[in-house]
């Protein structure tokens, strides 16, 4: 009688603890999501302030003899330095209502505040962006479909317009698949974890025809 009571009490108490844990985890996740979203929006304002409105028509520059010897400086990627962090631009996906700054280097602390570059560059057409699956970050990219628009504006104000051409799940260990295909398969890749964390939701996109160089 006494032992049954103790067991009963124990079971209910543990159950409540488990439910409590679940609840607080949910609360924590939601809070983290919101905080990261707010942080990213604050950064976005800073970054957008620094990005020039339009690309200056510097590319129309006349050919001259001197410029032939300045080749090395041309391919340098524009980067914005704000509060000790480097940003390569802004990514916007109207379909799921997000617009976020993109950090130049990925790290777990960086991912908490904004999407990051995993590797590549926009002008080389092999840019891979990584972000947390917060709903305010890339949590909803699995809702995209072929033809969805993705806009990346680099730190110099150059706008790259992409459309989604493929969405796949890649196992977390399959680095090769993530990086493969940039030659003719895609120009931009976004990825984030699935809910289970085992796979990565991977969105591939190509430059819109008029954007192709």
């Amino acid at each position: 009688m006494n032992t049954v009571r103790i067991a009963k009490f124990g079971l209910i108490a543990t159950g409540i603890v488990l439910l409590g844990a679940a609840l607080s985890l949910v609360r924590y996740n939601i809070q983290e999501d919101q905080q990261s979203g707010e942080q990213a929006q604050a950064l976005l304002i800073e970054v957008k302030k620094e990005i020039p409105d339009e690309t200056q028509p510097t590319e129309e520059k006349k050919y001259d003899l001197f410029s032939e010897y300045e080749k090395e400086t041309i391919p340098e990627e524009p980067v914005l330095e704000i509060d000790g962090q480097s940003y390569i631009g802004v990514v916007a996906i109207p379909e799921i209502g997000i617009e976020l700054p993109v950090l130049s280097e990925w790290s777990y602390p960086n991912l908490k505040s904004a999407p990051c570059r995993y590797q590549g560059t926009a002008y080389e057409r092999n840019l891979i962006l990584i972000a947390h699956n917060y709903r305010t970050h890339f949590g909803r990219i699995s809702e995209l479909y072929s033809g969805s628009e993705i806009i990346f504006t680099d730190a110099a104000g150059k706008v790259y317009q992409y459309e989604v051409n493929n969405i796949e799940n890649i196992v977390g260990t399959d680095i090769e698949s993530m990086e493969f295909g940039s030659v003719d398969g895609w120009d931009l890749t976004l990825f984030t974890c699935t809910v289970s964390g085992q796979s990565r939701v991977t969105v591939r996109a190509v430059l819109k025809p008029e954007e192709e160089p």
Binding site: K8, G15, A22, D64, I130, V183, F191
Partner: protein, 435 residues
């Protein structure tokens, strides 16, 4: 008397015969001389169908003795051998070589082998030339408020009965300003890892109409750049006074821009004509004909102050059409000696010709494309490289794509577990009551 007349007739007959033989022999001699290497070059100074007459051209014999793999620089140019960067024998390298050699003719006061002026048809004829490498350059000249110029070019005369027809690119500048600003920039190449090699400053000579005008100093403080104003109708050229040790030099000019490129090449210039570098050879077609583009695509482009007009058909105007006469027929059935010379012929301008004519159609776009695909293919290589690593290497199995998920998965087991435990607990209570 009769005898005398007969004798006279006899003598005159012998004389006639002698003359006849002499004629034949001399004719044969002339033919032999002709066959032994009198080459000629005809330049056609034409712009948009209009012949440009009165333009003075110089031709300089740069290298001779093409029998072996290594043409020999002529005496006038020999002392600059280690400084002159010949490049890879490509079209643009040949164009740069011509421009650089032009600088040396000024610096070394080298006299031209021949000088000729374009006639009413715009033709400039150089005859009785030996085989060899030639620099051909024009004197800038003014006619009706228009200054005409043409870039220096390299010509290679190889075959014995070789006759070359060249169409140099003609540029004109409308002289609407009495003074124009010119700029020279010094470029250092290939010495990024040689901090000690680079000189702290260089001096350069500016020439006006082939005469020394003034001396300049280029260093870091003026960003290795110097500008001066001068008469646009004059021909200006900048030559480095002393080539830094272990460097080679290239002079280039375009519009009002000049560059002096010093490339770090310890041990002196290595060049294809010394057999140190491989050349791309190009077989001529059956007709033994090839074309050579003498100028880079960029040439003839303009500057802010000068109005230069380039040809509507830059391709045609840049082309040098060369045609062999006898070589055509002989090339198939020639002796081994002839074959060697034929290869030399094709080696130099011919190598340019193939690539030149095929590229010229869409040179810029195709090269850009290939460079683009090149870079991306390299990225693919790197990715496939890492892929093979992950396949073969155990350590790389630990490598994962970054974890970007929130901790959502425990929520479900926690909730289910909690509900389960509570409901079991509640059931126990019921059992207790029932008992």
């Amino acid at each position: 008397m009769e005898m005398k007349i007969k004798k006279k007739n006899y003598v005159s007959a012998i004389f006639c015969l002698l003359c006849f033989v002499m004629c034949i022999v001399s004719g044969a001699f002339a033919a032999t001389v002709n066959a032994e290497g009198t080459a000629s070059l005809t330049l056609n100074c034409v712009k948009d169908g209009e012949a440009i007459s009165g333009m003075e051209w110089q031709i300089y014999h740069v290298a001779e003795d093409l029998s072996g793999d290594k043409p020999k620089l002529t005496r006038a140019f020999e002392k600059y051998r280690r400084e002159i960067s010949i490049g890879d024998g490509s079209l643009s390298a040949m164009s740069q070589l011509a421009s650089t050699l032009k600088g040396y003719t000024l610096k070394g006061k080298i006299k031209p082998t021949q000088t000729a002026v374009s006639d009413s048809e715009g033709k400039v004829r150089f005859t009785s030339l030996e085989q060899g490498y030639y620099l051909v350059s024009a004197q800038k000249f003014t006619k009706d408020h228009v200054a005409w110029e043409s870039e220096p070019l390299m010509v290679i005369l190889t075959e014995e009965d070789y006759q070359m027809d060249a169409f140099p690119k003609m540029n004109y500048i409308t002289l609407d300003a009495s003074e124009v600003e010119f700029t020279v920039k010094k470029i250092w190449e290939n010495d990024e890892n040689q901090p000690k090699a680079r000189a702290t400053y260089i001096t350069a000579e500016i020439y006006k109409d082939d005469e020394f005008d003034h001396l300049i100093r280029l260093d870091e403080s003026n960003d290795w750049t110097y500008s001066w104003t001068g008469d646009p109708a004059s021909e200006w050229f900048v030559v480095e006074q002393e080539i830094p040790k272990d460097y080679t030099v290239v002079y280039r000019k375009q519009g009002v821009e000049y560059v002096i490129v010093n490339t770090y090449e310890p041990g002196g210039a290595s060049s294809w004509w010394e057999g140190e570098k491989e050349t791309t050879t190009h077989e001529t077609g059956d007709q033994g004909e090839w074309t050579e583009t003498t100028t880079t695509g960029a040439s003839g482009e303009i500057t802010s102050d000068l109005e230069t007009t380039t040809n509507e058909k830059p391709l045609n105007s840049e082309q040098i059409n060369t045609s062999t006469t006898n070589a055509t027929g002989e090339s198939g059935s020639s002796t081994s000696a002839t074959t060697t010379t034929t290869t030399t012929t094709t080696k130099t301008p011919g190598s340019g010709s193939g690539s030149g004519s095929s590229n010229s159609g869409g040179s810029s776009s195709s090269s850009r494309y290939s460079s683009g695909s090149g870079s991306s293919s390299s990225s693919r290589n790197s990715s496939s490289g890492s892929g093979s690593q992950s396949g073969s290497n155990n350590a790389s199995k630990i490598e994962k794509l970054p974890q970007t998920g929130q901790l959502w998965w425990p929520v479900v087991p926690l909730t289910v577990g909690g509900i389960l435990l509570i409901s079991i607990g509640l059931k126990l209570k019921e059992k207790d009551h029932n008992a």
